[in-house]
């Protein structure tokens, strides 16, 4: 009996809240769900940590809850049911699968929870906005830099991300684009090392045996794998090291660039993708009088805030080279 009473009270409270919102009254605090595809990687951790530093989160204007999708679309879809049931004010979504994520967004928006996309694109025109970086371009930048260091000729190997995911496919597309512009450069091998440094090290060791000294460049679809391949090159005693480049800008890669072992890392800006997404969500909930609170909008002249309602915010990639690597290392501390 007591339980029923409690439930009824809770329901009334919830209804009250709903009315309050629909009446257009401003809330003191907004509950934002952070539906991320998985929390194991360093990148998503940086993204989550950046969110915790957002001025709106610190001041209590936004209350965020992380939903760990555990690298499964089904898991993410289930979590959106919870997000809808708990009546979150908005969700920020990093999908594991951009195509399947479209239906999830539709469900959420129809149930009254607006969705802001971040980091990975989702195939849907119902999202409030998407803030992320173009993976095709990142692959292209890696390809261009390595080919340039090779003097525009020779053979390369490509370390691919997990088969069938959107990110690796797009990064691969960009790499092929760079190769198409330099038809003299041949791809000797292209195989997955599943984002893993250790797997890439084994793979590269084997390739160094089967291709002796024919490998002139290494394309890593992420930094972890580029670092693994680099370690194999170093342990085989090859001097100078084969030019290699990766994507993400993780700290180990930045250090390797600073030591001039790795050519470049194409750095993805977790801070901007994360904090920018929250500003966009709050602008959508509060209205035009909301002014963005994050510092990230001052970073890129080519990505202005506007009035916070653009459909696409394309966060530029930053090339980490020996010239600026130390700056990034200092920022980390």
């Amino acid at each position: 009996m007591k339980k029923t009473l409690l439930l009824v009270t809770l329901c009334c409270l919830c209804l009250g809240f709903t009315f309050a919102v629909s009446a257009g009254e401003k809330k003191a605090s907004y509950n934002i769900a952070l539906a991320v595809y998985g929390t194991k990687g360093e990148y998503v951790q940086m993204w989550i940590n950046a969110m915790a530093e957002h001025p709106a989160v610190k001041s209590g204007l936004a209350k965020t809850t992380v939903f760990d999708g555990e690298y499964s679309h089904i898991r993410q879809d289930d979590q959106f049911n919870t997000i809808i049931a708990q009546k979150f004010d908005a969700a920020i979504f990093i999908p594991i699968d951009s195509t399947a994520g479209g239906a999830t967004v539709k469900k959420s928006v129809e149930a009254g929870v607006p969705v802001v996309g971040s980091n990975g694109p989702v195939t849907s025109d119902l999202i409030v906005s998407y803030i992320g970086s173009d993976d095709v371009e990142a692959g292209y930048l890696v390809g261009k830099a390595v080919i340039k260091a090779m003097g525009g000729k020779g053979n390369v190997v490509i370390l691919e991300g997990p088969v069938g995911q959107t990110g690796p496919m797009q990064r691969g597309e960009g790499m092929l684009k760079a190769l198409a512009e330099n038809p003299t450069v041949k791809v000797l091998e292209s195989k997955t090392a599943n984002w893993s440094r250790n797997e890439a090290m084994d793979l590269m060791q084997n390739w160094l045996v089967s291709h002796h000294d024919q490998i002139n460049g290494i394309f890593g679809q992420n930094d972890e794998m580029a670092l693994g391949a680099l370690a194999a090159v170093k342990s085989a005693g090859i001097q100078p090291v084969i030019p290699s480049a990766g994507i993400d800008g993780i700290s180990d890669a930045v250090r390797a660039v600073s030591r001039k072992e790795m050519l470049i890392s194409v750095r993805q800006d977790a801070f901007t993708q994360s904090q920018g997404a929250l500003d966009i969500a709050l602008r959508h909930l509060i209205g035009p009088e909301y002014k963005p609170m994050s510092e990230c909008w001052k970073l890129y002249p080519e990505m202005p805030w506007g009035d916070g309602t653009a459909k696409l915010y394309s966060v530029p990639w930053t090339i980490v080279s020996p010239d600026n690597a130390d700056k990034f290392l200092e920022e980390e501390r």
């Binding site: 940590n49 195989k191 440094r197 250790n198 045996v209 670092l227 370690a231 250090r255």
Partner: protein
């Protein structure tokens, strides 16, 4: 039945998997002219060392009829713990990094073993729980971030050489020899086989079965701790997502090596061959430039074929 034919069958039963390995090597050396080079053989041994060490612990566990699904996560966790003592600008002494990594592995194994032995829960469930918890702890330990900047003496474990032999290979081969002797000649090993063969009759004949079961998970945890040192030193950072799926590679190697999943049968020598078969296969398919898709299909087929052949020869000799 005359003596010679009996011996042939026994030979096949005992060394069938070894023949599979020889055939695989011969095929590979025909397909790739670099397969049989000292450089490549060193690479193979290096690449199998981590899976090999995990498989040693797994062999003990599976002989008792159990299973340890947590080894991959425990490896990652022990790596984080160990690395944290030798990281940064003022790293601690090498012995702290090694010691704490091993302790973390042993504690995780001991906890699983205690719960399995004390409360008689299925090992599958308990170690599945440990798989998840250890991975979570791994992320909790350093707020989800990797631990880079490890001291050079620690990195030596994964990257150094002794008389031209890589350290991981030195460690792995010594562990194979030690555990081979232990499992062949010690009284302890007879209890391990007895528990796996028939736990009830082992107990009635006076074996402290709970203690034996507890001990094999502890050994598996210790092996995960040792593997973590190599893995962390090889990748130069402790990574939270390291060791994902390693448990399945270890189980595959043990089973290919002729250890029965129902317990009571198995050997470290067999597991060694099982580890090599999987290692040679991975290496060979990379050398031949086989695509990722086919790589997985072929690997799956060879694992099943090897066990099929093994069960075929042992059934024939039993009848």
């Amino acid at each position: 039945m005359n003596g010679t034919s009996f011996n042939t069958r026994q030979f096949f039963q005992k060394y069938g998997i070894f023949l599979v390995f020889i055939v695989l090597c011969v095929v590979m050396s025909f397909l790739s002219n670099v397969f049989f080079t000292s450089m490549n053989i060193r690479n193979i041994l290096m690449q199998v060392s981590i899976n090999g060490i995990l498989s040693i612990g797994m062999t003990f566990v599976i002989i008792t009829g159990g299973i340890d699904l947590s080894v991959g996560s425990v490896t990652a966790m022990a790596g984080m713990v160990g690395a944290s003592f030798v990281a940064g600008r003022h790293p601690g002494p090498l012995v702290a990094g090694i010691g704490m990594g091993l302790v973390a592995g042993i504690l995780a194994g001991a906890l699983s073993g205690f719960i399995i032995a004390k409360f008689r829960l299925p090992a599958f469930v308990v170690t599945l729980g440990m798989l998840s918890s250890a991975r979570g702890y791994c992320q909790l330990y350093n707020n989800g971030m990797p631990i880079p900047n490890l001291s050079d003496e620690f990195l030596f474990i994964g990257q150094g050489h002794i008389y031209g032999i890589p350290m991981p290979v030195v460690i792995y081969l010594s562990l194979v020899v030690i555990s081979w002797f232990c499992l062949r000649y010690s009284r302890y090993s007879r209890y391990v086989y007895a528990v796996g063969g028939n736990e009830k009759s082992a107990r009635t004949s006076g074996v402290n079965t709970a203690r034996i079961i507890f001990s094999v998970y502890l050994i598996s945890g210790l092996c995960a701790g040792i593997a973590s040192l190599i893995l962390t030193a090889r990748t130069t950072s402790a990574l939270t997502q390291a060791g994902n799926g390693y448990e399945l590679d270890a189980i595959a190697a043990v089973v290919v090596g002729g250890t029965s999943l129902s317990g009571g049968v198995g050997s470290v020598g067999g597991t060694f061959i099982g580890v090599l078969i999987i290692g040679v296969l991975n290496n060979g398919l990379d050398l031949l430039g086989v695509s990722s898709y086919w790589h997985q299909i072929i690997k799956g087929i060879v694992i099943v074929l090897a066990v099929l052949l093994d069960s075929f020869t042992s059934k024939r000799s039993n009848s």
